[in-house]
């Protein structure tokens, strides 16, 4: 279940594109069609490399945080490496655009 307090974070993987283009385009399209608010970043890896403070803000919120990016193991430790503890209580969910279809990802992001 997700509700309007859930935060949606989409990673574009723009600096070195390892996420299939078709998948990330379709997911973004569904996100923009949904009318939901969202946070999008150009490249989480680039932000982690710079230890960007905004990474911490991106995980803050009252509800759940859903992240469309790549392998959950990579995303978790990218945040950790930037000095941002990654909650292990299920409040953050990572959806893997490298492996799953756009349909599965969008459903996971937007299902209410």
């Amino acid at each position: 279940m997700s509700d309007s307090t859930d935060k949606i974070l989409y990673c574009r993987c723009a600096f070195s594109q390892v996420v299939p283009v078709k998948t990330k385009e379709e997911v973004l399209e569904k996100l923009c069609d949904s009318g939901r608010d969202f946070e999008c970043v150009s490249d989480l890896c680039e932000m982690s490399a710079r230890r960007d403070d905004r990474l911490g803000e991106l995980l803050e919120g009252d509800g759940k945080v859903k992240i469309a990016a790549c392998y959950p193991r990579a995303v978790k430790w990218l945040f950790h490496q930037a000095g941002i503890p990654f909650p292990e209580d299920g409040s953050v969910e990572v959806l893997n655009m490298r492996e799953d279809t756009a349909e599965t990802i969008s459903k996971g992001l937007l299902d209410e």
Binding site: A14, V18, D37, S42, A49, R50, W77, L78, Q81
Partner: protein, 288 residues
């Protein structure tokens, strides 16, 4: 310097006092801005706009019914520019963003731009890492270091050689990831038992990087020290590096295209290797 540039945040404001934009325009604008390195948030009246305290430069875009409001950051830390996009086409909106960016005097890293940097660096999975220091002793470019508690950490990710995943292949625990790598488990895929078995047949790094110099130093044998000092002549040092290059090449653990870009000068000197071996030995002694 890539480290100092935070992405500029663009807020697509569609809350009260604005006319929402069509989903097609929202998509085109968001995709285009992300591909230029911006962060993009869509904010409607249904949700709070978030704190955005960590963003240093923000551009707010909206189809405002009245004049675009002037927004100030009370703390004075964040610079904010607002633009009314009513009646503007896609290209004109992008021009407005560019013009606002110039007003903010803000720069950001740009994907794909000339000489653009690829975020390529190791990421450690601490659920797997046993702090064995293999990666630290192996990496020729001092990417790894230890924190105050002597725990391994990635310290100088700028030093990492783009597309070189060699340290992930020497980690016996399959704990090192490069998220931008093409295949698993290096890219972050779940680690399977067969990956661990394959990794347990590790190359002997000591042998690879100049063999007995490393091991002798670990035991701090005087004999070894005197032999090493004889190898300090520039010719010997160069020979040592050449041998090292050939061994790395033969081992197949560094991709040939990465090796081709490395010149001998970029490799650490024999002295630096000796120094590192000393530090490693000290660290390992401390760990018991």
């Amino acid at each position: 310097m890539k480290d100092s540039k935070n992405p500029i945040q663009v807020i697509l404001y569609e809350g009260s006092g604005t006319t929402p934009i069509s989903s097609g325009d929202r998509l085109a604008l968001t995709a285009n801005l992300l591909d230029q390195g911006y962060s993009v948030s869509r904010v409607s009246q249904n949700a709070s706009p978030g704190k955005n305290q960590a963003a240093s430069a923000i551009i707010v875009l909206g189809q405002f019914s009245e004049a675009a409001p002037e927004i100030m950051d009370a703390s004075g830390k964040t610079r904010i520019e607002t633009r009314d996009t009513t009646g503007l086409n896609h290209e004109s909106i992008l021009e407005q963003v560019e013009e606002a960016r110039e007003s903010l005097d803000a720069e950001q890293n740009q994907p794909g731009a000339n000489g653009a940097w690829k975020p390529w660096f190791p990421v450690i999975d601490y659920d797997r890492c046993t702090n064995c220091m293999q990666c630290l002793s192996f990496c020729l470019f001092d990417v790894y270091g230890v924190d105050d508690e002597k725990q391994i950490q990635v310290q100088n990710n700028d030093n990492c050689k783009t597309n070189c995943p060699a340290c992930s292949r020497v980690c016996p625990e399959v704990a090192i990831m490069f998220p931008k790598y093409t295949s698993g488990p290096i890219n972050g895929e779940p680690v399977r038992q067969q990956d661990v078995e394959r990794e347990s047949m590790k190359v002997d790094i000591t042998a690879l990087l100049g063999g007995d110099i490393y091991s002798s130093l670990k035991t701090r044998s005087e004999k070894a020290k005197s032999r090493f000092s004889k190898e300090r002549s520039p010719d010997k040092a160069l020979d040592e590096r050449k041998r090292c290059m050939i061994k790395l090449q033969q081992s197949g653990i560094i991709p040939p295209e990465v090796l081709a870009e490395l010149d001998l000068e970029s490799l650490p000197s024999a002295e630096a290797i000796q120094q590192k071996a000393k530090e490693m030995a000290a660290l390992q002694n401390k760990q018991g």
